[in-house]
Symmetry: C2
Subunit: 253 residues, 2 copies
């Protein structure tokens, strides 16, 4: 894999990437022993539309490219995810109620992929990652996100503090998920504001400088003393509380 290309694997992930139209496809490799099904047929059809080269190869060849991962007989070689600029993101979404997730150094690719997936489902428009800490977009993230990475702005910044300050200047409310907080996440009204939700790294949580900049600090209350949610699950719980509020607020109108 060269620096200018990246692999997407798994049927759903490849379909999502083809449908998004955001990626340049170099080649799509399909196992010559893959049983043709609805999804494989869809990939072939979308590939034609996108002018992507289509190649049947042995399963061994696929296993070489994506070792030990479940490629389901399909690997696409594509241009890497394009990171967006935070200023462009803010400008592009100005005038619409917008939400964004900030990850303060999340390290695990599975967690990043799952967070992106939940974020897209919850209507979140952007995900902000620090360029020098935590994980960035890689093949595992693409696969775990089930292709969701193509449906959201991925913003890489040198300083999360600067990014948060910019968001605040542009009418975003900043919410930090912190298990030391006093307020519960469901006591915030998410329906009428732009918000940026900060999630901390798996072990160290959110850095003090970001906590200080936050407008709200919220915790997820537990029913037991075992107080340790996986970060992607915690993000999903808060984001879907915002969805619940938005959908039930619409009903009340």
């Amino acid at each position: 894999m060269t620096e200018n290309s990246s692999y997407i694997y798994g049927k759903n992930a490849v379909i999502e990437a083809l449908e998004s139209g955001n990626r340049e496809f170099n080649r799509i490799l399909i196992s010559n022993t893959a049983r043709s099904d609805e999804k494989i047929e869809k990939i072939k059809e979308l590939a034609k539309k996108n002018g992507a080269i289509f190649q049947f190869v042995t399963k061994d060849k696929l296993n070489q490219l994506v070792p030990e991962a479940r490629h389901q007989g399909v690997i696409a070689q594509v241009s890497p995810v394009k990171y967006e600029d935070i200023d462009d993101f803010i400008e592009k979404n100005a005038g619409n109620l917008t939400s964004v997730v900030i990850l303060d150094g999340v390290e695990d690719s599975h967690n990043l992929g799952a967070i992106i997936r939940s974020a897209v489902c919850a209507g979140v428009k952007g995900i902000i990652l620090p360029s020098r800490r935590g994980v960035l977009i890689n093949s595992t993230v693409e696969k775990t996100s089930a292709g969701a990475v193509n449906n959201i702005s991925v913003i890489k910044v040198n300083s999360l503090v600067n990014a948060v300050q910019k968001l605040k200047e542009n009418n975003y409310w900043v919410i930090a998920s912190d298990h030391h907080a006093e307020d519960n996440y469901y006591n915030i009204n998410y329906t009428d504001m732009n918000f940026a939700l900060i999630m901390g790294a798996e072990h160290s949580g959110i850095s003090k400088s970001l906590l200080k900049l936050s407008d709200f600090k919220v915790k997820i209350p537990m029913l037991t003393n075992f107080n340790s949610l996986n970060v992607s699950n915690a993000a999903a719980i808060i984001l879907f509380e915002s969805v619940r509020q938005k959908l039930t607020a619409n009903l009340k109108k």
Copy 2:
């Protein structure tokens, strides 16, 4: 690793297992280059209390036992998780409002670990797994669960249909998470009932026979067309809606 032992690795997972008192510890291996910190000290102290043998070994030795995984310098060799019987579980929890999660063939160890973790945090008392499909408890599950697997009854059954029928006979309401459902998950009142939440496998969802037995079928509504949550995130969203309802219902009383 013999069939009669299992590894737990990572500082938090080892601490949780020691504190739970549910596992027999054979040995605890610590890297001789591990920097001593609060957690390592806690492990030493708990190990003494539990009469567990404590051994300093090289990092290479640890890497051999748990390849490519982040053991954080600590691996414990323990007795395997004890699976419980469903009848014992029902009897033990009779008289208390009880919730349980049923996984219909979840395949990914990370997902199973994260679901167990969220379930414990949400006060769920048991997790039911089919013995012949999907993943069972392994070292990756133990690690991903951050030790939560020691704080919940793990029930392995030959037939999920029989298990669901038994639960129904014992006043459990059965809720299936199904993205084809018409009702939204937050429109159910979780506060005053025993419930069993069924989550489907990553690709195939819930089997028809279980859907037919369910009292409620619920979906998680999305704000976009991208309709594909990770199964552990979906479970967390529904379980923490039940927590939110229970905690806010208490306030209203």
